[in-house]
Amino acid sequence: MNCQDIALLLDDHEVDDLLAAKQPAVREHLSACGECARDWQIQVQLSNAAIPEVPAALRARFAIRAAGVAQPGKRPRGRFVVIGTCIALAAAASILALQMKEPRMPAAATVVSATVDPVPEEPAVQVFNKARPAATAPKPDEEAKEWEAWVHRTEDWLAARNDPDALIATAFLLEEEADSPGISRRISALLQRAAALAPESARIQAAALQICGVTRPCDTTPYEQALRRIAPDNALGWSGEVGRASRVDDKEALSRALTAMSRATTYNTYAGASALSMIAQVRSALVAPPDIKGYFPSMSTYMAFGAIAATATSDYMLLKKLCMSAADDRTLVECSQIGAAMQAGDTLMHNLIGLAISGRGLPADSAEARALAQQEVRVRWIIQQLGQLPGLDADEPGGQSTEAQQALLGATAKHPREIDVMRALLEEQGIPTEPPADWKPQKQ
């Protein structure tokens, strides 16, 4: 044992391992070498240093914005695949919140054409404004309880119906609490009922698959099989197989699943249609969702719709990793085909991952690689232009504009793909959807 060995231990082992590694040889060296002993002590001290809990305001900020994704100690979920028309979902949420100020009877909602009151002007959300008076700061615990109570009242109302859309909407609402065993059983039962009521609906089967995919325990197999039967060209139906095979390192099963998936021509989550359906269902709730003090009025409903947007198969990242590290020719070809299907998919995130996967293994100066790079530039142009449209960002002074929300919902109803929704919104504003020839995406 010498100083270099100690340095290697310090650089590549965690503290517990460091302590466990204090075997006689290490101890002997440390007792003889003051510098190494000092380094060792510092590493252990740094690792054990007290770190404060995440402040409640910070947690509330992200919990609300990301539809209740992260709670301490909860298992990680595949939330970051925000499926489909998030912007439209948020707009829809705002409209709903405005419409649901008063309790209303169930109505057959045509959400897009709904008339809404003007959005009241609220100050922008500034949780990080340290000068914000404590009295107006949100109280996450109370709000969470109020929200939870509303979800359960709405669950009773919606789950009583024998309507697959109502059952899926209920499962979406409950998904935020899917870590609780009781809730996960209820979600599973709701999904089974919904799927049985709509055996030929790809949208319902896909929604059941995605909600089930982030609920433990829940068996996604029946929904995958149904989706593959109804929509054999949709790669989403194979994502579960790929995930399971990869997790248990079953190379044969993985190869079979990748081959099957590579025959698909698209990767659809049906997010836009699911969002509009969810809006209609929640609108029919007898009691309006609670607003959260300190945030703009639509935030509570926005949480519900964020839950839809954020619920997606957790296996996409795995797929990306598999394809990005693929070494053999066959897998590379299959991954390229899967990438093409993802590019044709309905969510922007899948489109972008599809571009990355498709570009894997291509010479940088090849025509194909250049075409993919150009396509990514186009997508990023659209993202950037949309981000600059006035009236879309709740954090802007004045908050959201009703017109922008209506436009978003309208575009969502017309276009199944998120990228087309965004394109339509830009066209409506007279903004070019193609970047100038010399435009480069902003780099960090």
Binding site: L10, E35, I42, I51, F80, T85, G387, L392
Partner: protein
């Protein structure tokens, strides 16, 4: 409402909020600054969502964004005479040669001494030691910071030695200061 990219970034950050905050706190040793760094990371992430596809895990990608934001902020601090002055004042307070009674008490606490010594390190050294203290191995730190493995080894080693030196200086200063205080 946020743009789709910002909403995705929020979802990503929410997924890893505890880890991001822990690393941010290790870097800044200050809760408000750590909060701001997490928020900055989210905003920067929103502008760079396409890069997600190039990273093995979203957490590594976010940590990379945070690392870059942290270094950018440090550079900005250095460029701005106003902020630099405030920062200098802060540094003087935390590594004061003439501590006040409260600080003397704090200095008796080895964690406080470690914290003050840590804050004297340069930004890269703080990042590397913070990530290592959070349990990231060299391969992961390489992904996050973009520094080559051998460079990382060298810098980590140098960071630990510098920290030890600052701690020693702090230990040497404390009894002397204590004597001055007790003698007055």
């Amino acid at each position: 409402m946020p743009t789709p990219e910002l909403q995705r970034a929020h979802a990503l950050v929410a997924e890893h909020l505890d880890t991001l905050f822990r690393v941010a706190y290790r870097l800044t040793h200050n809760v408000p600054d750590a909060q701001d760094l997490v928020q900055d990371t989210c905003v920067a992430a929103a502008q760079n969502m396409a890069r997600l596809a190039a990273m093995d895990t979203s957490l590594h990608w976010l940590l990379r964004v945070m690392h870059n934001r942290f270094l950018d902020c440090a550079r900005r601090r250095q460029r701005s005479p106003f902020i630099a002055a405030a920062s200098e004042q802060h540094a003087r307070r935390v590594v004061s040669d003439a501590p006040g009674p409260e600080e003397l008490l704090q200095q008796a606490d080895s964690e406080g001494a470690l914290q003050r010594a840590f804050m004297r390190l340069d930004d890269t050294q703080r990042t590397l030691l913070s990530l290592r203290a959070e349990g990231y191995d060299l391969a992961e730190i390489e992904t996050i910071t973009g520094l080559a493995r051998e460079v990382l080894r060298m810098r980590l080693h140098r960071a630990r030695r510098t920290l030890a030196q600052y701690l020693d200086e702090s230990n040497d200063a404390t009894p002397a200061a204590g004597r001055v205080e007790s003698g007055t």
